[in-house]
């Protein structure tokens, strides 16, 4: 039986999947532009703007559904999380653009690349792909991997920053600092996103909140 809310739910999932694809593309492009020196600023900007537009679309659509259909249970959790996830997507797009700006500002920084950077960026690409897939399939097992990736990125961030302060090559150091910062933020949002996906499936709120609070204290 098709309910009144079903067409809107389909539209929502369509927009979200489009956003997901754009997020993966924009982050890959941004990271590659940093590592290899290619200029992808315009393309990434275009993607980021599209993502932002779609974010507003999702906001309108979800509030429209709340107004009209007063959804409950699975529908409700899906809609609630979609607002959080689409916000996360818009942030990813924005950070992707910021990363391309670094390359733009600092010029070609491909020689500043080092092993840990390569590792972190690989993890970020993997994490984003997993997050988008996890949402598409509502598979919460991926959350574990996402959190592992995020912890790694955090670790690199904390290790590298003090070293960068001592670094002599200011250009590389600053560029790397900025990049690491953006990667760390992307990581955080990816975890929030996996929490939101967890909420859809299990109904439990924000399990990672305590974890993030705790490992910023103990480390």
């Amino acid at each position: 039986m098709t309910r009144l809310i079903d067409p809107s739910l389909h539209k929502l999932s369509f927009i979200m999947s489009e956003m997901g694809d754009m997020v993966i593309e924009s982050i890959s492009l941004a990271i590659d532009s940093y590592l290899t020196g290619t200029n992808t600023k315009d393309k990434v900007l275009e993607l980021s703007d599209s993502i932002r537009t779609k974010y507003y679309e999702v906001e309108d659509l979800t509030f429209d559904m709340l107004l009209k259909y007063q959804p409950v249970a699975d529908d409700f959790r899906l809609i609630r999380s979609s607002t959080e996830i689409s916000y996360a997507f818009s942030r990813f797009g924005r950070y992707a653009y910021d990363i391309t700006l670094v390359r733009d500002l600092f010029g070609d920084v491909s020689e500043c690349t080092n092993a840990s950077l390569v590792e972190s960026t690989k993890k970020v690409k993997h994490m984003i792909k997993e997050a988008v897939l996890s949402f598409a399939e509502l598979d919460i097992r991926k959350a574990i991997e996402i959190r592992e990736d995020e912890k790694f990125i955090d670790k690199i961030y904390r290790e590298r920053l003090p070293k960068l302060i001592e670094s002599t090559n200011t250009r590389c150091a600053l560029a790397e600092a900025l990049l690491l910062r953006y990667l760390e933020r992307i990581g955080d949002h990816a975890v929030f996103m996996s929490d939101a996906i967890n909420y859809i499936v299990t109904g439990k709120h924000r399990p990672s909140e305590e974890r993030i609070a705790s490992h910023t204290k103990t480390d």
Partner: protein, 274 residues
């Protein structure tokens, strides 16, 4: 009007949450079964109702929620061929025990029906006091007090205080229903049963009834049968979902509607059937 409560209790693993926190239970229905001519309309249902709370009963038509509600004040005594087994305890007294006077104890439980039914040949005043006058209470002073109290609690006093002798059927539908609430409250019950009290009313009148319920819950345990899920979400603290005579799930309202444990509950509240 209060928004949804956000008490975070993650203790349930089963679909039936009967853990009490602090407040005690006003009414407990245990293993209640109702059968008509051998067919079970309510199958071995157990529910506990806390004092000063609102419990909503939801479910598709024919699921037994109204039948169950009517057990709670022994209305089925009036129905031929209805057989009721089980216990209904108010403060440790079983309404169905053979040793008690059902009529006396029935007054501890007030009932409001789906279609407003004020007695048609009586005035507003006489309607509210019907349960008292017709039981021998004559003291005019007491009756006046109780009328004012009850009508105030039902949010009807200001609208009718100048003309209590008016015939009850001259009131609008929403007013009549509030009059019926006042009439039920006048006999000083401890539990209030409401069978789809707003389903015959327009949206404004419905809103007033919901506001009344929200106020009343400060003093009474209220059990309301409703087919309007948004109403259940708005007014109730606990919700029970019944289907074909069984109690499928019983939890805090917000939990049941945002994260139902039972597949059937999830299907029903999202409108996949019923």
């Amino acid at each position: 009007m209060t928004a949804l409560s956000t008490k975070p209790t993650d203790m349930e693993t089963s679909s039936i949450d009967t853990k009490s926190i602090e407040s005690k239970y006003k009414m407990i229905a245990e293993n209640v079964t109702v059968s008509y001519d051998g067919i079970d309309a309510v199958k071995n249902v157990t529910m506990k109702f806390k004092e000063k709370s609102v419990t909503a009963l939801i479910g598709p038509s024919g699921c037994g929620k109204t039948t169950f509600l009517r057990c709670l004040n022994r209305m089925h005594d009036m129905t031929k061929n209805a057989k009721v087994t089980g216990k209904v305890m108010i403060d440790d007294i079983d309404l169905y025990s053979k040793d008690i006077d059902p009529i006396y104890h029935r007054r501890k439980v007030g009932m409001v029906f789906q279609k407003p039914n004020p007695f048609p040949t009586m005035s507003i005043f006489d309607n509210v006091t019907a349960g008292l006058r017709l039981n021998g209470v004559r003291d005019k002073r007491i009756l006046d007090e109780i009328v004012e109290d009850s009508l105030k609690m039902a949010y009807l006093w200001d609208e009718v205080k100048n003309d209590l002798k008016k015939s009850a059927i001259e009131l609008s539908g929403g007013q009549q229903q509030r009059l019926c609430i006042a009439r039920a409250l006048a006999i000083q019950p401890e539990v209030l049963l409401m069978d789809e009290p707003a389903s015959a009313l327009d949206p404004i009148a419905t809103q007033k009834i919901e506001e009344t319920i929200t106020e009343l819950k400060k003093d009474y345990a209220i059990i309301i049968v409703t087919h309007n899920m948004q109403q259940a979400i708005r007014v109730s603290d606990y919700t029970g979902f019944m289907y074909l005579g069984d109690l499928i799930e019983f939890r805090e309202t917000k939990k049941l509607f945002t994260d139902p444990k039972d597949e059937l509950t999830a299907k029903y509240v999202q409108g996949h059937f019923g």
